[in-house]
């Protein structure tokens, strides 16, 4: 296991000064990308994602069309300048995997049967990465989908949780992401209590996982409220 050059927790405080169960400052906005049917920008501390939604729109080539349900496609990408060492902009294996699990996590909440033969394209871009990028992008994608008017069962809220030393933490930053004993990404439909994305790496007991899931559920509920607030504010202003 890789070891961090500095301890990740000193006197109960994390390297960015947070308590174990404290999330970073969250900012959310929708509607910035004028060309898109829906869009959102979400940041957790230094991690920032911009997401655009296009569709439902016609799907070509035609053999990709499904007669009874619509298709959801997700492309997750990181800007070359988003990380310390420039990232090659071509899709790597990590991005392809994240795109796949994100597609599944969001599809779970979308009434795909409402747009047969069509496609909803979701493009996620990480502008700056400091840990928890996939969940930040999911939080943005969820409100971008809602603002595009895509019929959904619930918003999807997501967060990361993990373990540093013996301490369970929420909303991992980049250092914690790299050097934690374990990390877990979760997306859920908070009003239904249903998990739509779950990925874990590291070494955890079953009990630790269950504790982390409970913490994650609390955080997702907080994020859900912020997502709702962001959408309500946006569409209230436009009505006036």
């Amino acid at each position: 296991m890789k070891k961090a050059d500095i301890p990740l927790i000193i006197n109960g405080r994390r390297i960015d000064g947070r308590l174990p169960e404290e999330i970073r400052e969250v900012k959310m906005s929708v509607g910035e990308i004028l060309n898109a049917d829906g869009s959102a920008r979400v940041s957790f501390g230094k991690t920032e994602a911009i997401v655009a939604v296009y569709g439902p729109r016609a799907l070509f080539p035609k053999f990709l069309q499904e007669s009874d349900v619509g298709l959801v496609r997700v492309t997750y990408s990181m800007s070359p300048f988003s990380v310390d060492e420039r990232k090659n902009p071509a899709p790597d294996r990590r991005s392809i995997e994240i795109s796949k699990v994100t597609k599944e996590a969001l599809s779970a909440a979308i009434f795909i049967e409402d747009f047969p033969k069509a496609v909803v394209d979701i493009y996620e871009n990480i502008v700056q990465a400091d840990g928890s990028t996939r969940v930040t992008a999911i939080n943005a994608a969820s409100i971008a989908l809602a603002s595009a008017g895509i019929p959904m069962k619930d918003l999807v809220a997501a967060c990361s949780v993990g373990k540093v030393g013996d301490i369970l933490i929420v909303d991992l930053n980049g250092k914690e992401d790299n050097y934690s004993e374990a990390d877990m990404a979760i997306a859920m439909m908070p009003s239904k209590g249903l998990i739509t994305l779950l990925q874990m790496d590291g070494r955890l007991t079953k009990e630790e996982i269950l504790q982390l899931l409970k913490k994650a559920e609390e955080v997702c509920k907080k994020i859900y409220e912020l997502q709702r607030k962001t959408l309500l504010e946006k569409f209230k202003v436009e009505e006036d």
Partner: protein
């Protein structure tokens, strides 16, 4: 076929007559490719996969200069299923390789720090998975093949800074036998080892990597279905229980 499988699952039965918690028959052979430093073949109820391990000398990663490197790759060749077309690995093959990688890496099964050769030189452990017949539950079959191959991998001799293929100095330091247990949820019931027909119906799966000490080293949800927190708890219990059975085969 779909309706038929659903009807069975709804009645709490499986089309091949198994119980919910039963794996299909598993055949495991090792050292089947003499050119490779380690290899294994797994046939899990018709799903067939070969894992081959090759060792090379390479440069370590800058953030872990004293550790060997693990690289896992999976190829689905068109001979394995009518749905696979030739070309670079698709998202399913990439996901499979990354899950197998994480089960092995996160369990710390290989003592990578023992693969240091000299400054700037370490062993690179390549695990390549060749998939020959996709009949359901490829993930668990692939992890079994990869770990079995690692357990029988030998480190070659180095002479004049070159690898002498076919002559070995020691065994690869493997200290755990992690396995994956993939569990599907349908109508509130949990099923292990989904066959091909069940995989087409069941859209909520959790892959759980379990180490010898019952620690969970990987979880990956697959499909557009959902799990409650209680479901996850039940899945973890079942995964730990079944992991012991799989590990005995290694």
């Amino acid at each position: 076929m779909e309706e038929f499988v659903k009807e069975y699952l709804n009645q709490g039965k499986r089309i091949d007559g198994r119980g919910f918690k039963d794996y299909r028959q598993i055949e495991i052979k090792h050292s089947i490719v003499s050119k490779a430093e380690g290899s294994a073949f797994v046939n899990l109820g018709g799903t067939k996969v070969i894992a081959g391990v090759k060792l090379d000398i390479g440069e370590p990663f800058p953030d872990s200069p004293n550790e060997g490197i693990l690289i896992v790759n999976a190829e689905f060749t068109p001979l394995s299923s009518p749905e696979i077309e030739p070309g670079p690995p698709g998202e399913e093959a990439i996901e499979l390789a990354r899950i197998v990688d994480r089960v092995i890496r996160e369990s710390e099964a290989i003592e990578l720090e023992k693969l240091f050769i000299e400054n700037g030189k370490v062993w690179i452990v390549y695990i390549d998975l060749a998939v020959f017949d996709i009949r359901g539950n490829l993930t668990d079959a692939s992890v079994l093949a990869a770990v079995k191959a690692l357990l029988h991998t030998q480190i070659p001799k180095i002479e004049n800074e070159k690898i002498v293929r076919g002559e070995f100095v020691s065994k690869l330091p493997v200290v755990y036998k992690p396995v994956s247990v993939t569990i599907g949820k349908y109508n509130g019931n949990l099923f292990v080892d989904l066959n091909k027909e069940e995989e087409e119906i069941i859209n909520a799966k959790l892959v759980v990597g379990v180490r010898d000490d019952d620690k969970i080293c990987t979880i990956q949800k697959q499909g557009i279905g959902t799990f409650s927190l209680k479901d996850v708890e039940n899945v973890l219990d079942l995964a730990i229980e079944k992991s012991k059975e799989l590990r005995r085969l290694l």
